[in-house]
C-alpha cells in the first residue's frame, strides 16, 4: 500500500500507535529530557488532532480497521464510532493538558524536594503508554483487545502511582494493585466463559450470538463483565480502593487517573451493556440501586474528609453514580445524558485535581486544617478552583447542571418508584456535593489561615496555563452544550441501532460462518477456507 492509498480509516489506529511509538522514543532518549518532552508533547498533540478528525469523520459513518488486513471475525478490529471518537478526543485533550502541567511541575520541584519531583526519564514513557492503553480501550472492537487495553493502562498506572517509591505511595499502591489485579482476573474469567459459550470474542459477532445463548449463562457473563468494569469504574460496593490510593500520587498523576481511568470503566460498561446484551430489567434495576448507593455513600464519605484531595476522590466515586444512572435508564436520552456527563466530568474532575496541586504548591498542604486565606493570597487560584467546583456541584447554567438535568428529566420520564428514588438521590447528592465543596472553599480560600502560610512559593506559569485551559474547556462545554449534547444524542442512538455491527460486517455475512463453535462441516464436505472458520478470530 502506498501513501496515496491512505483513507480516513487509517486514522483509527493512530491514537494507539502514536503514543506507543513515542514511548519507545522517549525511552531511547531517557538521558535527554528536552528531547523527551518534545516527543511526548508532539505525540499527544498528534493524538488530539487525530481525535478531532475522527470526531468529524465518525459523525457520518463508523470507521472500522481490520488490523493486519484480516477481515473482522478472523482478525481483530479497531472500531471508531461517535462514542469512541468523543472519548478519544476528550481524553487526549486532558492528557495533553496534564502533561504540560507536569512538565512545569517537574522543573520547579526538582531542586526543592527530591522525593516529590517526578523522575522525568521514567515518567514520560509510562505516561505515553497510559495514553495508548486508554485509547486502545476506547477503540477496541474485541473483548480480548479491550482486556489488553485495560492491562496496558493499568500496568502504566501502577508505575505512575508508585513513582519515587515513597512509603506512603507504596502503601496506597499495594491496595490499588491488588484490587486491579483482582478485577483483571474477573475480566479474564468473563472472557473465558464468553468464548466457551459463543466461540468468539469479537464484540460485533458477540452481539449477534449472545442473544441466542442460554439466559442463565448470559446473565452470568453479563454480571461478571459488570463486576470487572465496575471495579475499574469504582461503583459502590467495590469502590473503597479509590479514595485511599489516588490522593497519594503526584498531583498530575492523580488528576489524570481521576479524569480518565474510572471513565474507561464507565465506557466499557456502556459499550458492553448496550451492544452485547438485550435489555434486561433485572440488570437495569440492579444497576439503579448500585448507582444510588454509589452516589450517596460516595458523597457522604466526601463530607467527612478534611483533606481536599481525599474529598475530591470521594466526589469522584459519588459522581460515577450519575453515569451509571444514565446507563441503567437504558433509554436513548438517558444514555445521551450519561455520555454528556462523562465528558463534563472528565474535564471538571481533572481540572479540580490540577488546581489542588497548585493549592498544595502555594499553601504548602492539602489539609483543610492548615490552609486558609488563599482567596486573598492568590485570587487567580481562587477563581480557578471556584469555577470547576461550582460546575461539579451542578450550579446552573454550567455543564454539570445540564448533564444532571438531562438525567433527572429522563428519570422522571421513565417513571416508577426506583427512577423517582434515583432522581431524588441525584438531587440530594448534588446538594451534598455543593456542601462538601463549599466547606473546602470556606476553609481553604475564605477563612483566615489558622497558622501563617510561610511559603511565598510562586506558582509557575507553566502549571497555571494548562489548568486554566482545562477550566476554560469546562466553560466551553457549557457554551457549546447544544452541539455537544446533540452529538452525544446521536452517539447514544448509534449504540443501539445496530450500526456498529453493520460497520464491522458490511456484508452481513457473520451468521453464515459457523452458527456456533459446536458445528463444523461434515467429514466429506468440501472444506473451503470460509467454512473452516468455526471459532477463529486471529491472534489477539
Amino acid at each position: 500500500m502506498s501513501w496515496t492509498d491512505l483513507t480516513a480509516t487509517d486514522l483509527v489506529p493512530l491514537p494507539v500507535v502514536l503514543p506507543l511509538l513515542a514511548a519507545g522514543l522517549a525511552l531511547v532518549f531517557a538521558r535527554r529530557p528536552r528531547v523527551q518532552r518534545v516527543v511526548s508533547v508532539v505525540a499527544l498533540a498528534g493524538v488530539l488532532a487525530v481525535g478531532i478528525a475522527l470526531l468529524v469523520l465518525t459523525d457520518d459513518r463508523t470507521l472500522v480497521v481490520d488490523v493486519g488486513n484480516w477481515a473482522a471475525p478472523i482478525g481483530i478490529d479497531l472500531v471508531a464510532d461517535r462514542l469512541s471518537a468523543l472519548m478519544v478526543t476528550v481524553s487526549s485533550f486532558v492528557l495533553l493538558c496534564v502533561l504540560l502541567y507536569s512538565l512545569a511541575q517537574g522543573v520547579s520541584e526538582e531542586a526543592e524536594e527530591e522525593t516529590e519531583s517526578i523522575p522525568v526519564s521514567i515518567y514520560h514513557p509510562t505516561y505515553l503508554v497510559l495514553a495508548a492503553g486508554v485509547c486502545n480501550a476506547f477503540l477496541a472492537g474485541d473483548l480480548f483487545n479491550l482486556y489488553v487495553g485495560f492491562e496496558i493502562l493499568l500496568a502504566a498506572s501502577y508505575v505512575l502511582l508508585t513513582l519515587g517509591g515513597t512509603g506512603e505511595r507504596i502503601r496506597a499502591g499495594s491496595i490499588y494493585v491488588v484490587v486491579a489485579l483482582l478485577s483483571s482476573i474477573v475480566f479474564l474469567i468473563a472472557i473465558a466463559l464468553t468464548y466457551a459459550a459463543t466461540g468468539t470474542v469479537n464484540l460485533a459477532q458477540l452481539s449477534e450470538r449472545l442473544p441466542d445463548v442460554e439466559p442463565g449463562t448470559r446473565l452470568a457473563i453479563q454480571l461478571l463483565l459488570l463486576l470487572a468494569f465496575g471495579i475499574k469504574a469504582a461503583m459502590f460496593p467495590v469502590s473503597a480502593w479509590l479514595p485511599d490510593s489516588y490522593p497519594t500520587a503526584p498531583a498530575p498523576v492523580t488528576a489524570v487517573f481521576a479524569g480518565l481511568l474510572t471513565k474507561v470503566g464507565v465506557y466499557a460498561i456502556l459499550r458492553t451493556q448496550t451492544l452485547l446484551f438485550p435489555t434486561d430489567p433485572r440488570i437495569d434495576q440492579g444497576l439503579m440501586w448500585v448507582a444510588l448507593l454509589t452516589m450517596l455513600v460516595g458523597i457522604l464519605g466526601a463530607v467527612a474528609q478534611d483533606d481536599i484531595k481525599r474529598l475530591l476522590s470521594f466526589t469522584l466515586v459519588s459522581h460515577i453514580g450519575y453515569m451509571l444512572f444514565g446507563i441503567a435508564l437504558a433509554t436513548q436520552p438517558g444514555t445521551a445524558a450519561a455520555i454528556f456527563y462523562v465528558v463534563h466530568h472528565i474535564t471538571v474532575q481533572t481540572a479540580l485535581f490540577l488546581v489542588v496541586g497548585l493549592v498544595e504548591l502555594r499553601g504548602g498542604s492539602t489539609s483543610l486544617d492548615r490552609l486558609g486565606g488563599l482567596a486573598k493570597l492568590a485570587p487567580g487560584l481562587a477563581i480557578l478552583f471556584f469555577i470547576p467546583a461550582m460546575n461539579l456541584a451542578g450550579i446552573p447554567p454550567l455543564s454539570g447542571f445540564l448533564g444532571k438535568v438531562g438525567l433527572v428529566e429522563d428519570g422522571v420520564r421513565t417513571g416508577g418508584f426506583l427512577a423517582y428514588t434515583l432522581v431524588v438521590g441525584s438531587v440530594v447528592t448534588s446538594l451534598l456535593t455543593l456542601y462538601a465543596i463549599v466547606k473546602a472553599w470556606n476553609k481553604a480560600f475564605w477563612q483566615e489561615a489558622p497558622q501563617e502560610i510561610e511559603t511565598d512559593a510562586r506558582v509557575p506559569r507553566g502549571m497555571v496555563v494548562p489548568t486554566g485551559a482545562l477550566v476554560a474547556f469546562g466553560l466551553a462545554l457549557t457554551v457549546f452544550a447544544g452541539p455537544l449534547y446533540s452529538y452525544a444524542d446521536r452517539a447514544a442512538a448509534a449504540l443501539r441501532d445496530g450500526s456498529y455491527v453493520e460497520a464491522v460486517f458490511p456484508d452481513g455475512h457473520d451468521r453464515g460462518v459457523g452458527e456456533s463453535n459446536e458445528t463444523i462441516p461434515k467429514a466429506g464436505a468440501p472444506a473451503g477456507p470460509a467454512s473452516a472458520v468455526d471459532t477463529g478470530e486471529g491472534t489477539p
Binding site: 522525593t115 516529590e116 480480548f144 489488553v148 492491562e151 500496568a155 501502577y158 508508585t162 519515587g164 517509591g165 515513597t166 512509603g167 506512603e168 505511595r169 507504596i170 502503601r171 499502591g173 499495594s174 491496595i175 494493585v177 491488588v178 489485579l181 483482582l182 482476573i185 479474564l188 474469567i189 472472557i191 473465558a192 468464548y195 466457551a196 470474542v201 473503597a240 479514595p243 485511599d244 467527612a304 474528609q305 478534611d306 483533606d307 481525599r310 489539609s367 483543610l368 486544617d369 492548615r370 466547606k439 476553609k443 489558622p450 463453535n517 459446536e518 458445528t519 463444523i520 462441516p521 461434515k522 467429514a523 472444506a527 473452516a532 477463529g536 478470530e537 486471529g538 491472534t539 489477539p540
Partner: protein, 171 residues
C-alpha cells in the same frame, strides 16, 4: 454434522478448581508476597479455564497437517500466551513493590486505609473532622502510623521488625 467435543477433561476441571481455590485463599492474606502467589495461582487457573473454553485437545491447527475436526483451537492458546506475558510482567512489579515495602516499613502488609481510620477515630470522639488537626492528636504523621500499625500479621515475628530506616521517606 460432526460436533466438536467440548466436554472438558475432568483433570483440567479439577486442576482449575484447586488453583482457583488456593489462589482466592492466598489473595485474602495480608502479606503482599502471599497475595502475589495467590494471584499467580489464580492466573494459571484462569489460563486453564481459557484452554477448556477452546474445546478438547487436538492436533496442530495447520491446514494439510491435521484434518479440520481434529484441530485444537489456536485462538485460546494465543489468548493464554498474552495472559501469561501480562501476569509475568505484573508479578515482577508486585515483587519489587513488596521488597520496597519491606525495605521501608519492615513488612509487606497490605494495610487498611490509615486515613480512614483517623477519620473514624474523630467520628467516634464526635468531633468535626475539620476542626481537629491530626498533628495535635498524637504528634505522629500518617506515614509513621503506617509503619507502626499491623492489621493482622503478628508483631513478634523475628525479622527486621519495625525498623527505623527512613531512607527515601517522604515526610
Amino acid at each position: 454434522m460432526n460436533v466438536i467435543d467440548t466436554t472438558p477433561a475432568a483433570v483440567l476441571v479439577l486442576a482449575i478448581g484447586v488453583l482457583v481455590t488456593t489462589g482466592v485463599y492466598l489473595l485474602l492474606e495480608r502479606s503482599l508476597t502471599r497475595v502475589l502467589i495467590g494471584f499467580i495461582l489464580l492466573g494459571n487457573g484462569i489460563n486453564l479455564l481459557l484452554l477448556v473454553a477452546g474445546g478438547r485437545a487436538g492436533g496442530a491447527p495447520i491446514l494439510g497437517t491435521t484434518p479440520l475436526w481434529h484441530m485444537s483451537d489456536p485462538l485460546v492458546q494465543a489468548m493464554i500466551l498474552t495472559a501469561i506475558v501480562i501476569t509475568l510482567g505484573l508479578t515482577a512489579f508486585v515483587l519489587a513493590m513488596a521488597y520496597r515495602s519491606w525495605q521501608l516499613h519492615g513488612h509487606d502488609e497490605v494495610q487498611d486505609d490509615v486515613e480512614d481510620r483517623r477519620i473514624a477515630r474523630l467520628a467516634a470522639k464526635n468531633e468535626p473532622s475539620f476542626e481537629d488537626a491530626d498533628a495535635v492528636e498524637s504528634g505522629e504523621t500518617l506515614d509513621e502510623e503506617a509503619a507502626r500499625t499491623r492489621d493482622e500479621t503478628d508483631d513478634d515475628i523475628s525479622g527486621p521488625g519495625p525498623v527505623t530506616r527512613t531512607g527515601g521517606e517522604a515526610t
